[in-house]
Symmetry: C2
Subunit: 204 residues, 2 copies
């Protein structure tokens, strides 16, 4: 099935729907209304129906959408229907927390290697992942990883990103406050905890 017409705004909401659907599945829920999903995601119910109409799912009146079917559709669109491999660079507190995070599996994501510059950490295992020498970032090319999580100090972020891009990393989750410079075809998502917390006072 082709989904070429799906607008970017809808694509951006799909991960939010997916997270909500995972929560519902965990609670044993098999069907969901657009209204229920809209409350999870923070949009209007009509927006939910419109978003899903782009991939040919219109829901059944009075019943709604089937949780498992909808989950599979969204995973396919987001290219999460096959395993995607990630590496992590920087095993400080934040990096260790990410490595220990158990929520990647359901998205078909696996962190397969971690890197750090600290000789005391190299060879250790955190969250089941062995820590390697950051001087060997070139080896990522042999791992078939396409994603990287950057949890190093800001001042060395660009220096670890450049070799990663050279060996095939195409998507980056950047936890540093640095703006990374990457080729156009590389996708970077910046995480800023300060900004997330700063979004709250307006509403309270």
């Amino acid at each position: 099935m082709r989904y070429a017409r799906i607008p970017d705004q809808t694509i951006r909401r799909l991960p939010l729907y997916l997270r909500a659907l995972f929560l519902m599945a965990e609670q044993g829920q098999t069907e969901v209304s657009s209204k229920d999903l809209s409350e999870h995601v923070g949009v209007h119910a009509w927006q939910v129906r419109k978003d899903f109409s782009f991939f040919g799912e219109f829901g059944r009146p009075g019943v709604g959408y089937q949780v498992s079917w909808l989950t599979d559709q969204i995973k396919t669109i987001l290219r999460l229907d096959s395993e995607k491999k990630a590496v992590l660079v920087g095993v400080g507190n934040l990096g260790a927390a990410v490595l220990s995070f158990s929520g990647f599996n359901k998205y078909n994501l696996t962190i397969i290697a971690a890197f750090d510059a600290d000789v005391n950490k190299i060879g250790q295992t955190v969250g089941g992942v062995e820590i390697r020498d950051v001087a060997c970032l070139d080896s990522v090319g042999e791992l078939n990883a396409t994603l990287a999580v950057i949890t190093v100090p800001g001042q060395v972020a660009q220096a670890v990103v450049d070799p990663l891009v050279n060996v095939g990393i195409r998507g980056i989750l950047n936890f540093t406050s640095c703006r990374l410079i990457v080729p156009d075809q590389i996708r970077v998502t910046n995480i800023d905890i300060g900004m997330d917390l700063a979004s709250l006072p307006y509403y309270i």
Copy 2:
């Protein structure tokens, strides 16, 4: 000045503009075009101009916006023009990383207290913040904190949120995968690293 007419979608983008403006200020930039801002935030330049027109700023043709003036305007709208106090509950790897994060100050946010259940951690200091006994969450009421960062294991998240809401916490940054149940007037932002990483494969 009143900003009552600003749409929610614009409000959601303001923290993104603010982060971009902070980066520009750090690099010594004093003026910025809507096009430059649009590239930082990932919207069209016309959207930037429309967003800022809601608070009466139209920019100067060929020059753009003044970085410091725009920063102040956005901080005022987001109610970041006075200090907001936060507490953090759960000083594991992730909690320790948040406490050590230096990026809250520029948003006028301060984490003033941290709480944990581990007797070995209570009394220790992480990121300049003393760790207190989670059994004493009631004491948050005396601290004039309105925000809380939740970095506990998911299964105890609701149990720490309930007392926080009772003593005046009104905005919550939730790092657990649990959906928190709170009164309508309490604002919760859910952080899901898995979802953030899962958003990337579509684009790469």
